[in-house]
Amino acid sequence: MAIEETMAPQLVLVRERDGRQELLANRDRVYCLCLGFAGNAADARDLAQETFAKALAHYEADRPANPQAWIMRIARNTCLDMARRKKSRGPLHPVSEWNAVDGRTPESEAGREEEIAIVRRAIDGLPGRLRDVLVMREYGELSYQEIALALEISSGTVMSRLNRARRFVLKFYREEHHERQS
């Protein structure tokens, strides 16, 4: 009994450290998910940081069975709160960020950046339920089951919404693309 009592704080520390590491392993995915919701890198960074601050503060109390789905849900809620608090900062990544990818020049990437902006607008135009699923899948790279768990819906609903969201984005993209070419 005495040994257990003396060991208890250490066990808690170990568990906290493990949980923290497990959460931090999802850092890039959380950031990408925030990018999907926020639409720009600066907001995504702030949102990812806020998400981790909340997650680390509540990890011990909540003890999630699936930490990844749990933190993704926190990230999604944080993003939605942020969207309510203020409008997005607008422009996507500044050109300097694009230069960093595989040494591409701004000129060669200008067209691609425009295409990404079209996709971004299409995603922004999605109804909330469809956008949640699409962003979690494409930006957060969650499986159907993980999305279902995070949003508390069935996997079938996830697939159905994802299908509709993709169709909407594709249609929007094609129409915009066609307009630009003609």
């Binding site: 990408c32 960074r45 940081q49 601050a53 990404i116 996709v119 594709l170």
Partner: protein
């Protein structure tokens, strides 16, 4: 679902490129997962600060509206608005108020009083006389000194029941009518 797969690949590739570019920037700078972002913390507290006066103003407006509505419901109109209790009546029981009155009286004894409108003087005397009578009737000072709020409430309600305030208003109206 499968119909969308191939055309979707093009979109997925664009999204992947967007993520890749953003991640390069993300990894370039330090990330502190345990701390709230300064910018968000600042905007959060700022918005709260900005919100506080607005909430206070709204609450005050609601209280005022509720007060006016309840007054209107109780009195059936605005005609009796002048029947609002005079301060001297309301605080007649208060020990501190009577102390303040005595110090004011002492001060006024040394300073010459300015010339007053005779109508106002008559009205004020009538009001003070009425307040003194009410204070005598309820014998209020002792319980207040002992700090018995229930007793004060009882006495205030008795004052209201006895229409002491209405009498004061009537006198005021008579004076006003005479003047008119």
């Amino acid at each position: 679902m499968k119909d969308n797969r191939e055309p979707w690949d093009e979109i997925a590739a664009l999204i992947a490129l967007e993520k890749k570019a953003a991640l390069v920037d993300f990894h370039r700078r330090e990330f502190l997962p345990g701390a709230l972002p300064l910018r968000l913390a600042a905007t959060g507290s700022g918005s709260r600060l900005q919100l506080r006066p607005a909430i206070a103003a709204l609450a005050a407006s609601l209280l005022l509206a509720a007060g006016l509505a309840s007054f209107w419901l109780l009195n059936g109109g605005w005609g009796s608005i002048a029947a609002a209790p005079a301060l001297s009546e309301l605080f007649a029981d208060s020990y501190l108020y009577s102390l303040a009155g005595s110090t004011e009286a002492a001060a006024s004894a040394t300073v010459p009083a300015p010339a007053a409108n005779p109508n106002f003087t008559a009205w004020a005397e009538a009001g003070l006389g009425r307040a003194a009578a009410a204070a005598e009737a309820v014998d209020s000072l002792a319980p207040v000194e002992r700090g018995d709020p229930a007793e004060v409430r009882r006495k205030l309600s008795r004052l209201i029941r006895e229409n002491a305030l209405e009498h004061l208003l009537k006198q005021f109206r008579e004076i006003h009518n005479k003047e008119a």
